[in-house]
């Protein structure tokens, strides 16, 4: 149920994001979705790609420091209050969200997919399953993006 996310350390300079994307582009790796966290000094690029092992070796060969984290993709109703329902569940279980970002829009559906990073992803999956929240596995996720 968990998805492997690659995180890259980027200095806060023009061209750093491009350099990382070029490595993936040259290796023929498709980015499924991404999010960029930025601070005054540096940025963290978080990526979900089709073939994370190959992406990691390509990036590491290019001298980039890569961190692999397990994140959870959650499906929420694409309507007002859809995310609220999931956050209610998380709040009730006392699960803190480290960060989250929205998935790039896939084919037309009534559902939106969000990526969450928890301190303890296994506990989060258990809680979400108990409350009937749809956690999307990586195979299903990739299938959805590349039908």
């Amino acid at each position: 149920m968990k998805i492997h996310q690659l995180s890259l350390f980027l200095e806060n300079h023009p061209g750093r994001l491009k350099a990382a994307c070029k490595v993936l582009g040259d290796a023929g790796i498709d980015i499924v979705t991404l999010a960029l966290a930025d601070t005054e000094q540096f940025g963290i690029l978080r990526l979900i790609v089709a073939d994370w092992q190959r992406a990691r070796s390509a990036l590491e060969a290019a001298g980039t420091v890569v961190n692999v984290t397990e994140v959870i993709a959650i499906e929420v109703g694409d309507h007002p209050g859809g995310l609220l329902a999931v956050l209610d569940v998380l709040d009730g279980a006392g699960l803190a969200i480290e960060y989250m970002y929205a998935f790039a829009a896939g084919p037309q559906t009534q559902k939106a997919t969000l990526v969450f990073r928890f301190e303890d992803p296994d506990a989060a999956v258990r809680v979400l399953a108990r409350h009937g929240v749809n956690v999307v596995g990586s195979a299903a996720l990739l299938q959805r993006v590349e039908p």
Binding site: F9, G63, R117
Partner: protein
Amino acid sequence: MTTHADKVTNIVVAGLGGQGVITASDILADAAFHTGLDVKKSEIHGVSQRGGSVTSDVRFGPRVLSPMVPPGKGDFLVVLASDQVENNRQRLRPRGVLITALVSAPCPCGRTLRRMRRVARRSDDMLIIRGVNVFPSQVEAAILGVEGMLPHYQIVLTRDQGLDQIEVRVEITPAVFSDTVRGLEDLRVRLASAIEHTLGLRVVVYLVESRSLERSEGKASRVLDRREGVASPEVSHP
């Protein structure tokens, strides 16, 4: 170059009669004596009164037996006359330091004697930051004290409104890279406090990409001194 406490330091001063070779070595010996070290000194001034060669050896350390610096054992060779450099060069040890810089042009004050240039820089890598003596190796030790870090760093010195500022750039390693901003800010704080604790100086730590800093030994690339007026003092009155 480091001068170890348990080692004898050998200095050879050379020049011509009347230049102050003996006076210079007297001052050196006196200074060493006042630090509580054993000091021995010898002089050769055969035809000095006709402007001939003069040399003087100064040796100091915890215990010095002979007053002569053995051939090829000089740590420092100070030469006051440019034509005396070659015939004294063999007294220096490999990687010994030759100090000689003479100005023949008359001084603006009217004196016509040759003058020695002001001392330009240190021969070791010690830095003086806000009056505090700092060795880059201290910064390195502090960084290595933080788990998972490698000794890939650069010290950047600037001056803001008359006050020295130190910035330490440290390469991120796979072992310490976190996907959360909080994790990296944590690391930055840990590095900064480790360095501050060692140096007694407040520093700004920048995390940089792995392999982004130049790999080389020595002072040049480890330290970027952008403070004005520190690196190269102009020749002034002797």
